[in-house]
Point group: C2
Chain length 341, copies 2
DNA sequence: GGCGCTACCGTGAACGTTCACGGTCGGGCG
DNA sequence: CGCCCGACCGTGAACGTTCACGGTAGCGCC
């Protein structure tokens, strides 16, 4: 168990570079194939030889090249996942779901964050080189990046623009209708939507919410926030609370922003849901931890992950078309009525 | 832009499998090398030929094999990151930091979750095959998994047992001393540590906290919780609050558990920090969103990521030794005094 | 002694790409 | 006309691994 002393990698003549299977074969006095047999636990090798080969491999710090192996074996299936910003808890919630779904099918997941990465273009391109399919949020630059990915199959998640290929849509469906009914029944008259200022404003969610209110004869102000963070939402809420008439319901773009709204209300001494009702979107578990517990439009990330993976593997296998109706799925939001509204 | 109609991949004789560079060469009536020149924007090719080659590539849905390319180019650097459970917000916070640090060095990050994955052994092994170095939380099974990784350089994060290789340690250092001083000065007499029931109990954190109290002549009860989740912590807290004497301070293993403690106190009508003081560990941003804002021992995830990557790339390059004093770094906790204690 | 069988091991070939070099062809120049 | 040069393009070789097959030795059996 103690590390073999005095052995640095490339201990024989090799000045640099990893040891290859031929180095091990030479060191053990056998052929390539015998090394393969030893390393991969195949039959057709004596116990003594196997031991000798493994010792040589250990001494040379030999590790099979994933490229050499992948070349002949046809490669493990590798999925690229693009998320918007890992600091927003929704991203990891989704990532967790995707990792789980992928593991079930024997796929590995490679994670990329386009908000955190300086050179997003390079990142996307690298992802295309390293993976067999890519799933994720592309936002406004979807066409550009999908082009950058070359012919790697792509599944867009909740696309904002017109879809160019496969996609999993998020549909507020009747959850938003029921939410609006609920708010109106509670006496809400001055609702405000706190929208995330993406490239295209207002967002689809905001539009959908506004439409639901408009159907029932109520006008909704849409307040754009520079970044979809709790801090920005809190700052925006402070402004809103000073308005006249004061909003009696704040619908946030996502749960994290809604948490910021709750914090701002608490600091301002405004009772939730008594004076202001607050709702989010995403259904994050941590929404149940705060007081009052957050009412939200929950998205079933496991279902999203399942559908996305289904599309991705289908496209890789050549079953699913790369675009068109068969390449689109829809996952519905669920209304999660807790305490804040 | 419109997809070329009537062209399915493998449109010529090929019954299955992706098109190779030779297929493109044949289709365009040129040689391999010319295809390479066209695809990679190299010089020594006429504009007309280049256009013809690119058209053929497009038609055949050709995509360079990452294995073939990696084999000759020596491979992009790829880092594996093992986290415990993505549903705990600390994991993504760390992952975000690692992704950022890695992107700065031109590395890609592949994410694995050992809690979510059914067959963790297989996952770890696959990670070893696909990456050039692995960083992460291995927990109790560290030796076993490091062995499984073969000769892939490994950096353990906050190892619980004795370190077998490189590691980044988390040191509560004087932050915990100052915390205990603060609690004692506030009149705390019956502190309880809510520990995460890992394989080795009590955890290093719990031990450290207990020692700090013991140094000042106070005994601390350690309460193990089956899982390090908010729900479990809340349930445990309900039990604790019925004890006599009732604890006047609860030190949780991490922030998520501390949030569970806060929720339980709120439900029980117990004032924080008036009647019970609550402390977490991690320094998650969301700890500032709850009421009262969570006092915690913050860990600088960016610094952890930097150190870990430094070790990893050093080992890959052969600079840093695989074990020993030079292969270990330490990052100190910081006391973040907010409202809950 | 010849035959076949088993256990063990080695040798071409292939995977898909890029590098280094060699070839061809047209044209300018003395 | 002979020479050289630049622009363009093609051909072996190499990367590291595994698969399919071929070889050799030992041994039992007729």
């Amino acid at each position: 168990m103690a590390g073999p002393a005095g052995l640095t990698p490339g201990d024989a003549g090799d000045p640099a570079g990893r040891a290859t299977i031929l180095d091990v074969a030479a060191a053990a006095g056998v052929s390539r194939q015998t090394v393969t047999r030893a390393m991969n636990g195949m039959e057709g090798i004596s116990a003594a030889t196997k031991k000798r080969v493994l010792a040589a491999a250990e001494a040379l710090a030999y590790r099979p090249s994933r490229f050499g192996r992948g070349l002949v074996l046809g490669g493990e299936q590798q999925l690229g996942l693009i998320v918007d910003d890992l600091r927003n808890p929704y991203s990891p919630a989704l990532a967790a779901a995707v990792v789980r779904a992928a593991a079930g099918r024997g796929w590995n997941v490679m994670l990329a964050d386009i908000a955190l990465t300086g050179d997003a273009d390079r990142m996307v391109e690298a992802l295309g080189v390293q993976t067999d399919a890519v799933v994720g949020y592309f936002g406004k630059r979807a066409p550009e990046w999908i082009a950058l990915l070359g012919s790697v199959p792509v599944v867009e998640l909740d696309p904002s623009g017109p879809v160019t290929g496969a996609a999993v849509h998020l549909d507020p469906g009747d959850a938003v209708e029921r939410l609006v009914e609920h708010l109106l029944a509670a006496g809400v008259r001055h609702p405000v939507v706190l929208d995330a200022a993406g490239p295209d404003l207002p967002s689809r969610r905001a539009t959908r919410m506004r439409a639901a209110f408009a159907d029932r004869g109520l006008h909704v102000a849409v307040e754009p926030v520079a970044e979809p963070t709790a801090e920005r939402a809190a700052a925006a809420t402070e402004r809103l609370l000073r308005q006249d008439p004061r909003p009696d319901a704040v619908l946030a773009f996502n749960d994290v922003m809604a948490l910021g709204v709750l914090a701002a209300c608490r600091r301002a001494g405004v009772d939730v849901p008594g004076e202001v009702r607050v709702v989010g979107v995403d259904g994050l578990p941590l929404g149940a931890l705060v007081a009052p517990a957050l009412t939200t439009l929950e998205v079933d990330v496991d279902e999203v992950a399942r559908q996305a993976l289904d599309l991705a593997v289908g496209m890789v296998a050549g079953r699913t078309p790369r675009s068109g109706a068969d390449a689109e799925r829809t996952v519905r939001h669920r209304l999660l009525l807790r305490e804040s509204a």
